[in-house]
Amino acid sequence: MSSIQINSVTKRFGDFTAVDDLSLDIQEGEFVALLGPSGCGKTTTMNMIAGLEDTSEGSILFDGQDLSKTRIQDRNIGFVFQNYAIFTHLSVYKNLSYGLEVKKISKSEVDRRVRAMADRMSITHRLDQPASSLSVNEMQKLAIGRSAIVEPRIFLLDEPLSNLDAGFRAYMRAELKVLQHEFGQTMIYVTHDQIEAMSLADKIAIIDQGKLMQYGSPLDIYNSPDNRFVANFIGSPRMNLIDGEIREETSQLKLMVRGGAEIPLQGQVKSDFTSDGRVHSGSFGIRPQDIYFGDKRSTKDIEMHGTVEVLERVGPKRIVHLQVLETSFIAFDDQDQLKLGDEVPFFMPPDKSMAFDVVSGRRLGVV
């Protein structure tokens, strides 16, 4: 187990800056997800931690120690990739023992650790069988087990679940989280899937174009995104983010949207938008589950009217797409009674709404 400190790391490939002045503190035993769209620099960051790539600038410290001169094989790092890299022609036992035998550990100790790991993974009854006979499920566990058994100082996982189908992925997510708790190892998990990152990680580092956009616990990031990028990237279905001009008309502050829709600004979100007097164009954000229908619950709530354009059954609920002139809002049909073509009032609590600067993308007001 190790803590990792990434200090102002930059990585350039020719003229291209893949990672740009990125700093992260990872505590011992923490499960950290590096999350971002493809090409954002998350895998490059992981490769630098692993020592597969050098840094152009900055340093990476393990327990305060610089390992940049240490050979990769001596850094004691465990890897799990998308492709399991299991020796299918060898037995499950041999797959597990291989990493220990290479390290010249005594036979009895190897046997003890292999059996302990197999037990933890519930694959003891499979030990003597060839790895090729395992189910995908067990194969995945074996891939993790054979990396974990050598007790690496850190564990790096690069999209390990991306080859699995949705149902099984949900199952493996739960398994992986329990395993991490049991191992207590520092884990760094690279993914582009925000649901995976939210459900597994203690902390998420969201990266876009080589830059760290936010670093925090899943719920902190979800409840209080620092900027428009994070607000848009985290959450499914995505947050409504509506850009417009901020204007005052007949003593009512409004967000005027292209196409004619107007969002009246009041309460908390109004003070957020006006907290920085220089901002004239803003982005109004609200999560779909915070929009409601039926009776208005508070006089402060923002009221609008929209037409039901599309209804989608997603899991236990229906998602509704409301059209207000040329602007579309996504919400949940919480009462299960909307019909296509209905024109309905809908409500948005100001304290659940968020304000962003369109130009810089930063969050306005409450921090």
Partner: protein, 353 residues
């Protein structure tokens, strides 16, 4: 009127038999075909398109036996997973190609081009050759070409599977909008359950070459007609428990849960069966409320809008989906109640009871 009808069709391959299949797709309907990989979904599209002929049964297109119709006469547009764009043509040329072939006027071509570029967000790539486009961009050009042709029906085989998650969410709404505006018949194949459920007016669930259920997404979700449909619809998947009816048929006993649930209606006495319940139909309850069972929570997945709680029960993981953000400690014991209106019971052979 039915746009497409499939009657008792059987198609035999060396290691796989498709059918017998019966389907009626209405004019202007968005019809989804969902199933696990290699369950026979694409073969159904090929039958409709005329790329393969049935060994038995009939394909009927707009009240005409398709046997008498060539591929072109069927008037279908198809978008495959692996698309085929003309590499030497720009995006624009690719899209208007079928219209040009048909001798459409310049005015019609530019109208159709505008319509599809708007919906598919491709105006900025129309001048590029396929080689200069990303995979997602090529896919959208292929969709554009199929739409612009304005054919009788659109057959789509995993058309947006290669796009990233956000773009997929957006595209599925756009596709639906486009389909409704044109009042076109869409047949949409995907192995992504959430996508098919979200986009379809009705869908067919295909398992092992047979149609397991046809219905509106709401119906298939709330009343899966067999264990195999219940297993593949819903994410995270439904929880299943083996158990037995009490001798008087009033209760269903589940040993692994250490308890029983009352059963409405007289559906079984003393026999073995499988009980299914969706993660959102297991409720967290407080002390003093009605408790059916106690579960030990092994991990918590905070997803923001909802929370997934995992409880290990022997080899099984029971999943609970709680609305909002809940504060449950990992390792704690949680009292739960099963929503009795939403339990599903399946017989030994997998039929819904």
């Amino acid at each position: 009127m039915n746009a497409i009808e499939i009657k008792n069709v059987v198609k035999t391959y060396p290691e796989f038999t498709l059918g017998p299949i019966g389907l009626e797709i209405k004019q202007g309907e968005f019809f989804g075909i969902f199933g696990p990989p290699s369950s026979g979904k694409t073969s159904i599209l090929k039958l409709i398109l005329g790329l393969i002929d049935p060994d038995e049964g009939q394909v009927i297109i707009s009240d005409q036996d398709a046997k008498e119709l060539g591929v072109a006469e069927r008037g279908m547009s198809m978008v495959f997973q692996n698309l085929a764009l003309f590499p030497h043509m720009t995006g624009r040329e690719n899209i208007i190609f079928p219209l040009k072939e048909r001798g459409a006027s310049d005015e019609e071509m530019s109208r159709q081009l505008d319509l599809v570029s708007d919906v598919l967000h491709i105006s900025h790539i129309l001048h590029k050759n396929p080689a200069q486009m990303s995979g997602g961009e090529r896919q959208r050009i292929a969709l554009g070409r199929a739409f612009a042709a304005n054919s009788r029906a659109m057959l789509l085989d995993e058309p947006i599977a290669a796009l990233d998650a956000r773009l997929r969410e957006e595209m599925r709404v756009e596709l639906k909008r486009l389909q409704r505006e044109n009042n076109q018949t869409f047949v949409y194949v995907s192995h992504d359950e959430e996508e098919v459920m979200a986009i379809s007016d009705r869908l067919a669930v295909v398992i092992d070459g047979k149609i397991a259920q046809i219905g509106a997404p709401d119906d298939v979700y709330s009343r899966p007609n067999s264990l195999s449909v219940a297993e593949v619809i819903g994410s995270p998947p439904m929880n299943f428990f083996q158990g037995q009816f009490s001798d008087d048929g009033q209760f269903f006993d589940v040993e692994s849960l250490g308890g029983r649930l009352p059963v409405a209606g007289n559906i079984g006495k003393g026999g073995k069966a499988t009980l299914g319940i969706r993660p959102e139909d297991i409720w967290l309850v407080q002390d003093g409320e009605d408790t059916d069972f106690e579960l030990s929570i092994s991990s918590v997945e905070p997803l923001g809008g909802y929370t997934i709680l995992n409880a290990h029960l022997g080899d099984q993981i029971v999943k609970i989906r709680a609305p909002g953000q809940v504060n449950v400690a990992e390792g704690s014991t949680q009292k739960v109640s099963f929503d009795q209106r939403r339990i599903h019971l399946f017989s030994d052979n997998g039929a819904r009871l």
